[in-house]
């Protein structure tokens, strides 16, 4: 059985078909989550923001006229909500040295606790690069979107998306090539 188009699911959702809305959200959940994470990182507010995003999408579905793709529309809601929360509570940037000092203070007796998992370091590196690059990378990897899909979601040309991803990864690589990362990477 072929998957229904987004427009068909939207029409059914507008007829109070909650299952259709659920399917629609399920289809684009990873993208919306990646969009929110690219702005807020792994902060506690992500859960609340995601609920708000879906609530606003549900309430405003009738306003979706189909001029753009549903994914683009949902991405804009997700990004707006995340930025709104981010601007209300300024992100406390924590640099690598601070993290290491804090970890050392709590676990000074155990030298092994200085090792940081690759996942944490990746998150840390992602947090340091330009937000536009980060968004493109999160959509590419976390949401597993193609360049063409990211192009439509972010409303920029495909070539620009490739540049974002490439530059973002080059920047991350530069960050991850710092001695601290390399030392930990060799231990793990």
């Amino acid at each position: 059985m072929p998957h229904p188009e987004d427009s068909e699911l939207v029409a059914r959702a507008l007829r109070q078909d909650e299952r259709a809305f659920r399917d629609l959200i399920q289809r684009h959940h990873a993208m919306a989550y990646a969009a929110v994470r690219s702005v807020l990182g792994d902060r506690d507010e992500v859960q609340d923001v995601m609920q708000m995003v879906y609530l606003k999408a549900y309430q405003g579905l009738a306003g979706f006229r189909g001029d753009a793709r549903f994914s683009t529309w949902l991405y804009q809601i997700a990004r707006r909500e995340a930025l709104d929360v981010s601007s209300k509570r300024r992100v406390e940037t924590v640099d690598v040295e601070t993290v290491e000092l804090a970890a050392g203070a709590h676990h000074a007796a155990d030298a092994a606790t200085h090792e940081r998992s690759e996942r944490e370091w990746i998150a840390s590196a992602l947090g340091e690069i330009d937000e536009t690059y980060r968004t493109a990378i999160e959509l590419r990897y976390m949401a597993e979107k193609s360049y063409e899909e990211i192009s439509e979601i972010m409303s920029v040309p495909v070539g620009t998306v490739k540049t974002y991803v490439h530059r973002g990864k080059a920047e991350m690589k530069r960050i991850l090539s710092r001695p601290a990362w390399r030392a930990d990477a060799s231990k793990s």
Binding site: L14, Q16, I25, Y33, M50, Q51, E118, M142, H166, K173
Partner: protein, 190 residues
């Protein structure tokens, strides 16, 4: 020679990042990179870091939680949250602003304002009796003020009861309307 090698490494450095995107490198470039990496320690290390980074990025897909954990809010009882513009249940209020105004009037502040307004109107209506009470209680100022206001309204209406009633209604609407708007703004902001 070393300059030549450095230039080569710079070129390969850019290619290493692109390596993991299948459509970002031509087959010729891939072959070049394959041939270069075993011969260059620097590029080999760079390739290793990129490879680790790529693997960690790929693993981020598993960071996405199930959608169910975000949906309880919208799976509230039907009608609690309804898409704007969807087919309305029969008998539902057709204007959201009307509903908001009604809610504002039914709020504690709105009810207080209505009670105060009606009390003022009753006081004006029974000003004579109230005045007498105040005279008995040694204060006739309120009675005099009430009489002055009543006389003023009678003068304005030229004794026409319809006009007088209209003035009462207009004053009530202005008072209730303005206070209702203030309450509505308060409710929205809160």
């Amino acid at each position: 020679m070393s300059n030549h090698l450095n230039q080569n490494c710079e070129r390969f450095e850019a290619m290493i990042v692109a390596w993991f995107d299948a459509d970002d490198l031509s087959s010729v470039e891939r072959d070049d990179l394959n041939a270069h990496i075993p011969t260059c320690a620097s590029c080999r290390e760079s390739f290793e870091v990129t490879s680790r980074m790529e693997a960690a990025l790929m693993a981020r897909r598993s960071d996405v939680p199930a959608v169910d954990s975000f949906l309880p809010v919208i799976s509230a009882p039907v009608g609690a949250v309804r898409p704007v513009g969807a087919v309305r249940p029969v008998g539902a209020v057709s204007h959201p602003k009307l509903l908001a105004a009604f809610r504002a009037l039914m709020s504690p502040a709105g009810i207080s304002i209505m009670l105060m307004s009606w009390t003022a109107m009753l006081a004006l209506h029974f000003r004579k009796q109230i005045g007498e009470v105040f005279v008995w209680t040694s204060s006739d100022r309120f009675s005099a003020l009430g009489n002055d206001v009543a006389n003023l309204l009678v003068t304005i209406s030229r004794g026409d009861t319809h006009v007088l009633t209209g003035i009462y209604v207009a004053v009530t609407v202005v008072v209730l309307g303005s206070m209702g708007l203030i309450t509505l703004r308060y409710v929205r902001n809160s």
